[in-house]
Amino acid sequence: MDLSKLKRRPSFPIETIAVALAFSPRLDGILAEAKRIKLQLNSALILIHVGEKTAEKEEILDSGLQKAGLVPSDCRIIWMDGDPVETILNVCKLNIVDLLILGALQKEKLLKFYTGSVARSISRKAKTSVLLITEPKVEPCKIKKIVVNGIDNPKTLHTIATSLYLARLLEVKDITIVNEVYNPAMAMTIAENSTAPEANKLKRDIAEEQVSRLHPIIEQSQEQYPEIAIKEKVVNGKPGYAISNYAKSKNADLLVVNSTDVHLNLFDRIFTHDMEYVLQDLPCNLLIVHSRI
């Protein structure tokens, strides 16, 4: 494999998707979801299982593939031994996977969250985009609402573009770009030195500044994707938590966020990083866009 292809590879079009399989009751649902996404995105499909290859597992997988309507030529199956997280990430890297799909519980138990489950650990480390599906369904369930982060970060542009690309292929008509406004120490500053009109103006100015940053991006995107209603929303609160809460309150089907700029570790779970607020309690399916910029 030519790994130089990975460098600065855009986050879309999604040519290859991979699905990490565990032999759990959710296997059929994950396979069905994978097949639907493969067809809609017109991508190659790789199925990865880390663990011993046994006749029993093969039988279960064959049956799952059949139920999902997948034939052997539709996908490549990779069986590997080793540490699940590292092995899956390595397979993705070697096969230039553009999107890794994983089943994930909506919420982990406290200890599991700190020690890290496979799905969440992969989400923290992956160098490719990751889709966490909280409730994989055998029957098709159309994605209707997508919420996308609009934070001030160079990656956001790619994340929005990837979301629109997906929305077009998945025929989603409703996208909301959410701008989280959070100003640490603002309350302290206002309390110390501002009259009421000054404080209100200050807050308004900062919020407007954030919103105006997104306007040209949204206008340009709307011209490119006229069939999609692109809305914008400003929410106040800690980044990560605020958008997660918004996605939950709006019953979004998919939340799309940037990949992190730093390698997340245990420290980021204790002093909660924006991404960890989302991973702590997934509001819906989550797509982490890795733009490789």
Binding site: D152, N183, P184, A185, M186, A187, M188, T189, I190, A191, E192, N193, L202, I206, E209, Q210, N236, G237, K238, Y241, A242, D261, V262, F267, D268, I270, F271, T272, H273, D274, Y277
Partner: protein, 410 residues
């Protein structure tokens, strides 16, 4: 037995009324010239205290603001409460994820802006002891204190400067904020350690016990206490009266935390500060609730505290030009060099790095609180206290214009 009489009550209420009304007017006047609010409060203390008014009418001063007696004890109680609440609200704004999120630039700046002034401060005391006046048995503790005093920053002053310069949401602004948060956190932890080492009766207590207790309490609050508060806050904010419920319970937790740390031999400010971090970190604390807590403490208790400093200390008699110059030079250059180097190592441009150095140079109210606690603990004398106050005020005043010069003018 000392009794709080009807006359004491009347005089105390007059004293509180005078302080709150005059400090508000002076601060509002100073605001027009972009002066930090704490400057007005300190100036008022100096004007109505022994430094100025005391020289003109010592009897009237002694009647309204007595140095001994029941009213004095009551006023001291109020200022102790004020300092605990000030540390609580300082803790509310300490969010370590802000530091971590800014990555390399913030981490280098934070470390260097803390480490450099701290080391130089400690080194100066150890190498040039004749410049300072301290108890020989407390030399190391004094050196640690001086290092901390040089290293601390003032988040509210810095945030205000950034807002005024329209830099609050910029990369430079966020690096400054992150580093100020880190400096505050480490500074107050070290200072709590120093105060705990001195002990309540001035005797040095065990270092391992103190460090163990600070780490134990910090970890408990960070890992367990914070989660409990996070779970309780939505209930408090929706089921109890708004904003009374969250205000009284937050301050209640603050006092309990302060009482606990005071009881186990650490200083009360540590409990209040860490409780502030635990509450302020919660995603469920409404911005409005945060503002109300800040308003309550900053506009009622902060003036009482800062004005009281001028009432206690004669700033004119204790003004030592040599000491003030030494403290000011060490404070300004160490912070400036440390923070500038850190920011530059973190990948910022030379000009941005210098601007960050000046931004973090503002010491403001935090330095004054630090000095007051050290004075009360008998660690420093009044001359050093005055030097620290002057340094805090000068650095707060020069920070904004210097940042503007390096960021905007060139």
């Amino acid at each position: 037995m000392l009794k709080f009489t009807h006359t004491d009550l009347v005089l105390m209420l007059i004293a509180l009324g005078i302080v709150l009304i005059l400090s508000r007017f002076i601060s509002e006047f100073g605001k027009k010239f972009k002066m930090p609010i704490v400057l007005g409060e300190i100036l008022l203390g100096i004007l109505i205290g022994p430094s100025v008014f005391g020289r003109l009418s010592p009897h009237l001063l002694a009647a309204i603001f007595p140095r001994i007696g029941a009213e004095r004890i009551a006023l001291d109680g109020i200022t102790s409460l004020a300092v605990i609440m000030l540390l609580f609200v300082a803790g509310l704004e300490v969010q370590l994820n802000v530091v971590l999120k800014q990555g390399k630039a913030a981490i280098y700046t934070s470390f260097m802006s803390m480490l450099f002034p701290f080391s130089i401060g400690v080194g100066t005391v150890l190498l040039f002891p004749h410049l300072f006046n301290y108890n020989a048995s407390n030399r190391m503790v004094y050196a640690l204190f001086f290092g901390t005093a040089m290293a601390i920053s003032a988040l509210p002053v810095i945030a205000r400067i950034l807002i005024d310069l329209n830099m609050f949401k910029t990369k430079v602004g966020m690096v400054i904020m992150a580093a100020a948060i880190f400096d505050d956190l480490t500074g107050w932890l070290i200072f709590s350690l120093i105060l705990s080492l001195i002990g309540h009766d001035g005797e040095i207590t065990s270092l391992s016990y103190t460090i163990g207790m600070i780490i134990g309490f910090g970890l408990f609050m960070l890992l367990i206490g914070r989660r409990i508060i996070d779970k309780a806050l939505p209930w408090i904010q929706t089921k109890l009266s708004w904003p009374g419920g969250v205000l009284s319970l937050s301050l209640g937790f603050c006092f309990l935390g302060a009482a606990f740390t005071e009881k186990i031999g650490l200083h009360a400010i540590l409990g209040a500060f860490i409780m502030g971090i635990a509450i302020g970190d919660s995603v469920h604390l409404h911005e409005k609730a945060r503002e109300i807590i800040h308003q309550f403490v900053t506009n009622i208790f902060a003036p009482l505290f800062f004005v009281s400093l001028g009432l206690k200390v004669d700033f004119i008699n204790n003004f030592d030009p040599m000491l003030v110059t030494v403290v000011l030079l060490i404070a300004v250059f160490c912070k400036l060099i440390g923070a500038t180097l850190g920011a530059y190592m973190g990948g910022l441009s030379k000009r941005e790095s210098i601007a960050i150095g000046f931004g973090l140079n503002a010491r403001g109210a935090m330095e004054i609180i630090l000095g007051t606690l050290a004075l009360e603990a008998g660690l420093i004398d009044e001359k050093m206290f005055v030097a620290l106050v002057v340094m805090a005020l000068v650095t707060s005043i020069i920070s904004g214009p210097m940042m503007k010069y390096f960021i905007k003018e060139r």
